[in-house]
C-alpha cells in the first residue's frame, strides 16, 4: 500500500469518526426545534416583552383592547404588565406591535397575524398616524363588525395609554386607503377618546362555604 493511499484512508476514517460524534448532536437539535412551541408562546412573549425597547422604558400596566370574550362585537380591556417608553412615538410603536402580536387568548385577536407596523408618528395637535402593511387589509376577515373591532382596538389602546392623542389616521403601505377591507372608512381621522377604566372587580370571591 502506497503512502498516499494510507493518508487518504486515514483521512476518511477521521472524517467518519467526526461525523459519528457530530451527527447525534445535530439530530437532537433538529428534534428540539421541531418540538418548540412557536405560535402561542411567541405571541405571549411578544405581549409581555415588547420587542422595541428604549432607554426610557418604564414598567407599567398597559391597557390593551382586544375583542370581548363575552359580548360579541365589542372590545374589552386587558391589563398587561410590560415596559413602555416615555416617548409617545416609541410608546405607540410598542403598543401597536403588542396589539398585533395578539392577546393571550387567540380567539380575541382583532388584527390579522402577519401584519406589520411599518411606521408610527405624531403630527401637531395630537394626531397619530399608524402605517400598517397591506396584510392588515388582505388578511382581515371581511365584514363591518370585524373591521370595526380592529379600528376600535387600535384607537382605544392608543388613547388609553397615550392621553395626548386626539385623532388617528390609518395608512396601508404608506398610502391612504378608501376602506380597511371593504367596509370601514379610512379616508378620514378617527376621533380618539380615552376609554373609561373598567371598575375594579368586587364581590367576585366566592362566599366561604360552611
Amino acid at each position: 500500500m502506497s503512502r498516499r493511499r494510507k493518508i487518504a484512508i486515514a483521512t476518511l476514517v477521521a472524517l467518519v469518526a467526526a461525523g459519528v460524534i457530530y451527527l447525534p448532536g445535530l439530530y437532537q437539535r433538529v428534534v428540539g426545534l421541531r418540538r418548540m412551541p412557536v405560535s402561542e408562546e411567541a405571541e405571549r412573549r411578544a405581549v409581555i416583552e415588547p420587542p422595541l425597547s428604549t432607554s426610557t422604558d418604564q414598567p407599567v400596566k398597559a391597557r390593551m383592547f382586544w375583542a370581548s370574550a363575552t359580548v360579541a362585537g365589542t372590545v374589552d380591556e386587558t391589563d398587561v404588565d410590560t415596559k413602555l417608553s416615555a416617548d409617545p412615538v416609541e410608546r405607540g410603536k410598542q403598543l401597536l406591535t403588542a396589539l398585533i402580536a395578539g392577546p393571550p387568548d387567540p380567539s380575541r385577536r382583532t388584527l390579522p397575524p402577519g401584519t406589520t407596523l411599518l411606521e408610527f408618528y405624531l403630527l401637531p395637535e395630537g394626531t397619530a398616524v399608524a402605517d400598517f402593511s397591506n396584510t392588515l387589509s388582505t388578511a382581515m376577515p371581511s365584514g363591518i363588525q370585524s373591521e370595526q373591532l380592529a379600528v376600535e382596538s387600535i384607537g382605544d389602546t392608543l388613547a388609553a395609554n397615550i392621553p395626548a392623542l386626539r385623532r388617528l389616521k390609518i395608512l396601508i403601505d404608506g398610502q391612504e386607503a378608501k376602506t380597511l377591507a371593504g367596509h370601514i372608512d379610512l379616508t378620514g381621522y378617527f376621533m380618539l377618546h380615552a376609554p373609561t377604566p373598567a371598575p375594579p372587580a368586587t364581590g367576585t370571591d366566592p362566599a366561604p362555604q360552611r
Binding site: 360579541a72 362585537g73 376577515p141 371581511s142 365584514g143 363591518i144 363588525q145 370585524s146 370595526q148 373591532l149 379600528v151 385623532r167 391612504e176 378608501k178 376602506t179 371593504g182 367596509h183 370601514i184 372608512d185 379616508t187 378620514g188 381621522y189 378617527f190 376621533m191
Partner: protein, 281 residues
C-alpha cells in the same frame, strides 16, 4: 342653411336632442340641490362568464316607475327603498370556510326582501340585480337619484354568532373628514352627503335593530354607529344590516334567515315611515 336640410333629417335631429335632454335630466336632475355629481372612479364590469347570473327577478331602476320630476320638493312619506346587495362581480366580499361567498348571499337575501317590500306597496330599486361589480359611487348615485327614499345595504359578516344580525348607521362623531372632504362654497360635499341625515339614519337603525333582535338570537338590542364608507355618500336615511356569518355550515342556513330578515325590514320601514311623515309635517 336649414332650407338645404331635408325635412326628415331636421325631425331626426330634433328627436335626438330631445332624447339627450331627457337622458341628462334622468341622470343629473334627480339629485337634491347642493350635491355634486359623484366622481367617476369605477364602472360596472362584465359578468363572470364562468357563473351565470341569477334570474333577474328584481326590477332595475329603469324598469321602475319614473321618479318625480327634478326640482320637485321631497314628499313627506317614504315611497322608495333602495336595496343594496353589498359586493358583487370582482368584489366577492367575505369567504366562508365552507365555500359560501358573501356577494351571492347578499343578492339572494335582497331578492327576498325586495319581494316583501313590493307586497307592502313600496317602490324598490336595487343597486345590482346580478353579479356585477358596482362601485361605491355608482351605488350612491343610484340612491341619490331617487326622491323620498331610504337606503338599505345588506352584508354578511365573517365573525360573530351565526344567525345574529346587526344594524349600523354612519356615525360622524367617530371620524373627522380629511381636508379634501370639507364643505366648500356652501355646497355639501358628495363624500359627506349623509351628514344631515344622521339622526334619521340612527332612528331607522334603532327601529330595525329592535325588529332584528326579536327574531335573530344573539343580536344586540341597539344598533351600532360605524364609519361605513358606503353610507357616507348617501343623501337620504341610510343603514346597513350585517347577518352573521359566512362560516355557517351551508348556504341553506343563511338562506333560511331571508324570511325573518324581510319581515324585520318591512316592519321597521313601516314604523319609520310613520315617524318620518310626522316629523316632516
Amino acid at each position: 342653411m336649414l332650407r338645404t336640410v331635408p325635412k326628415a333629417a331636421r325631425f331626426a335631429t330634433f328627436l335626438a336632442l330631445a332624447v339627450a335632454l331627457a337622458a341628462f335630466a334622468k341622470t343629473g336632475g334627480g339629485q337634491s340641490p347642493g350635491v355634486p355629481s359623484p366622481p367617476q372612479t369605477q364602472s360596472a364590469q362584465p359578468q363572470n362568464p364562468l357563473k351565470p347570473p341569477p334570474p333577474a327577478t328584481s326590477q332595475t331602476p329603469t324598469q321602475q316607475p319614473a321618479p318625480p320630476p327634478p326640482g320637485q320638493a321631497p314628499r313627506r312619506t317614504i315611497q322608495t327603498v333602495v336595496l343594496d346587495p353589498a359586493h358583487g362581480g370582482t368584489d366577492e366580499g367575505a369567504h366562508g370556510s365552507t365555500g359560501i361567498v358573501e356577494k351571492d348571499v347578499t343578492l339572494a337575501l335582497a331578492q327576498v326582501v325586495a319581494a316583501r317590500l313590493r307586497r307592502d306597496g313600496l317602490r324598490v330599486v336595487m343597486t345590482r340585480t346580478g353579479d356585477q361589480t358596482v362601485s361605491f359611487d355608482d351605488r350612491a348615485a343610484t340612491a341619490n337619484a331617487q326622491v323620498s327614499a331610504i337606503f338599505l345595504s345588506l352584508h354578511v359578516g365573517s365573525s360573530g354568532q351565526v344567525g345574529s344580525a346587526s344594524a349600523y348607521y354612519y356615525d360622524f362623531s367617530q371620524i373627522a373628514p380629511s381636508g379634501s372632504q370639507a364643505a366648500a362654497h356652501g355646497l355639501l360635499s358628495w363624500e359627506l352627503a349623509q351628514q344631515p341625515w344622521q339622526s334619521y339614519s340612527r332612528r331607522l337603525a334603532q327601529l330595525l335593530q329592535a325588529e332584528l333582535s326579536a327574531r335573530f338570537r344573539g343580536s344586540p338590542d341597539l344598533p351600532s354607529g360605524a364609519a361605513i364608507y358606503q353610507l357616507r355618500e348617501l343623501n337620504e336615511p341610510a343603514v346597513a344590516v350585517e347577518i352573521e356569518n359566512v362560516n355557517a355550515p351551508n348556504a341553506d342556513a343563511l338562506q333560511s334567515l331571508a324570511a325573518p330578515l324581510a319581515i324585520s325590514i318591512s316592519r321597521a320601514i313601516q314604523s319609520f315611515r310613520t315617524v318620518y311623515a310626522a316629523e316632516m309635517r
